[in-house]
Amino acid sequence: MTRRLVLGPFNRVEGDLEVQLDVADGLVKAARVNAPMFRGFELMLAGREPMDALTIVPRICGICSVSQSVAAARALADACGVVAPPNGELVTNLMLACENLADHLTHFYLFFMPDFTSPVYAGRRWYAQAQQRFAALAGSPTGGGLHSRMALAARARWFELVGTLGGKWPHTGTILPGGSARAIEATERVRLLARVREMRAFLEQTLFGTPLEEVAALHSLAALEAWRQRAAGSDLALFLDIADDTGLAALGPGPGRYLSYGAYAQADGTHAFARGVWSAAQQSVLPLDTDQITEDPRHAWYAEPYDVDVDAAADANTCASPNALHPSVGSTQPQADKAGAYTWNKAPRLAGQVLETGAIARQLVDGQPLIRAAVAARGGCVSTRVLARLLEVARIVPLMTQWLQALQPHAPFYAAHTLPDNAQGVGLTEAARGALGHWLRIENGRLSHYQIVAPTSWNFSPRDAAGTPGALEAALVGAPLDNTLVVSALGDATGNTSVAVQHIVRSFDPCMVCTVH
């Protein structure tokens, strides 16, 4: 017998999230992901002065704020053709990297690992250690969480980089189409370098137990096994033990297609982490054609401008709905009573296909050998998603040191620009959670069109018109439920969740507030 469970609100994700599960025989048979809030930023931006976007869009998200600023600044730069001087690109990369690394730390220590301190795991050999290191910091009577506390303090200190480079975090206004509004002096650079060394010390002492370069250079599963022996006391090693013991590699398989817009622009037009699509089936990087991106509103509470004969479309076996539009022409008009809809998130597709995005996608596309080997052996799953994030942390810090050293004090950080009265622009970047794109149009000196496709829009996509579930929806199928779960005192309509479902959902590090922009 199939029962329906409604799970939510999820905590330790950014924003509000509800997941509906159809369960039978103790397994998830189908899942629907609901982003239960609508915010309407694309509508708010219409009619505004174009540069106002730089004040408004960071406030889409308190955790991906810099990333939103960068996407808007790039879209405006695209619209007017300005090119930021090298210093401007470097400090923008530094702010992006600072936020990205902090988000990965927040995810690991505050959002993901506390699940292993759940009473469900009492009795596991690693349980006491998990408690001591990762216990949640509120509402928990158990104490502990020493490493989570240290990570939180290191994170607060780390964001002082953005305090200097961008005035504050979140919601800086320093990032501009022509670079940065804040020039950095040589004395500030040496202080920032010292801050980066502080973070390195925390990571090497607590998270990795070895120099970052050793982690970044891991190239195979055998090398990872050897590294584990050397770094046995580290949090990454403890995670790997827990992952083995709880079978995280068997949970939450992804779609096998991974999207990265490329992270950290380089002077030669390339990215420090390459752009492209990784196909696990073909074991190769495919070129990315952003013209093939569409957002399908069929199962979202948004109006569909074109009438569709659903039966005829099904008969013709047509996958693409005429309402699945490229973001340069898409729309976001709420329609709360729309039949068949179950979320405020549209379904992004690339050439009609479901993609996963995030650190795992960046590292696969960029060709990091360990992550390619891990995904080849185990698939894109809960444990490889987490591993990819931590490996990315080890790669980012040395890059940041290089960028700081490449700054040239007293050379320009900013190039002036003039926005045309009529133009359009695209801004692509990578947020911690993956590919983020802004598509805008300016008419008569005002924003007339703004569409945003956020990373979690991809990962937590609903079904499209063809009924194909999104990445998380598919990843949840087959997840086991706890024995106690289905016999909930509150009946079938609600219930406690399974830890497996919690691990799968959080392995994507969802940002729901971006999703429902």
């Binding site: 409604v6 799970l7 609100p9 999820f10 905590n11 330790r12 999230l17 509800e18 809030m37 609508f38 915010r39 309407g40 708010m44 219409a46 009619g47 505004r48 540069m51 106002d52 730089l54 004040t55 408004i56 406030r59 998200c61 308190g62 955790i63 704020s65 699940d115 216990a135 509120a138 509402g139 506390r149 939180l152 607060a156 200190r157 964001f159 002082e160 953005v162 305090g163 200097t164 005035g167 504050k168 975090w169 979140p170 919601h171 800086t172 206004g173 320093t174 501009l176 940065s180 509004a181 020039a183 709420p334 709360a336 950080f413 900013y414 909930s488 609600t494 406690n496 969740t497 507030v513």
Partner: protein
Amino acid sequence: MSFNVLWLQSGGCGGCSMSLLCADTADFPALLKDGGINLLWHPSLSLDNQQDLLGLLQDVLGGHTRIDALCIEGAVLRGPNRSGRFHLLAGTDLPMMRWITQLAAVATHVLAVGSCAAWGGISASGSNPTDACGLQYEDEQMGGLLGANFCAQGGLPVINVAGCPTHPGWVIDTLMLLAAGQFDAQDLDPLGRPRFYADQLVHHGCPRNEYYEYKASAAQPTDLGCLMENMGCKGTQAHADCNTRLWNGDGSCLRGGFACINCTAPGFQSPGHAFDRTPKLAGIPVGLPTDMPKAWFVALASLSKSATPKRVKVNSRSDHVVLPPASRSTRLR
């Protein structure tokens, strides 16, 4: 007896929680605990899962669990058609605005954390597609979700810890003062903001003050000069201590090179002009420094402009100090 805090989010970006986690402390949980504060629930920090939260909410509404402070982050989304449908609390099918109304009725104190919860804020931008408002204000207008006459059980109206985001110190100081029983009605300004930060101006402690004194103004981003005349800065009118209680170490908007947009004030999201340009009438900024008569400002500005030292003038249009101050002995002879 610990001071129980329940923290919930609605129509916002979560940035006030993210800002809170940047609090200047070596041990965040210890800071709260030692301040007598018990976070019953926080969306980013609690282990407990959904059923525990819904159970906790029932306990609170049933009178079994006391909440000393209800912290709401994010605007109240009333749309469409006042149904609250734009935010149903996950797992409940009930509009978040109904949960907030019920919980506010039993809480000792109610805090609007950030400008969205206080006034609607950025969430009410433009056409305000979600019909967003604050807990007790809709922009400058009193009312909001809870109504102009709302008083929490403790006798105070909604405490508006406004800011976009709010400063972690503003939230923590407010909670610690409340927990210590050292915060009452006279500690709120006329907009319900804690006076310990709202009685200050962003202008206080601004590192561009010498440029302000001489009206040596920035003309473009990265210029060191004052941002008031051309670049949209409202620091001389904005109520907050951002340049004396800095952000993320040594930051503030002005120190980051961009204008103060008066984000602690109702309606800041729709200023009626571009955020990065100063609206002027006959060459004079429309928004003059708080408490300053226009004629005085005009007279002082023309005097100070004519008396601007070359050093100040040159540096104000540069991204670094080009002309250093002259070195002179300050000893009395």
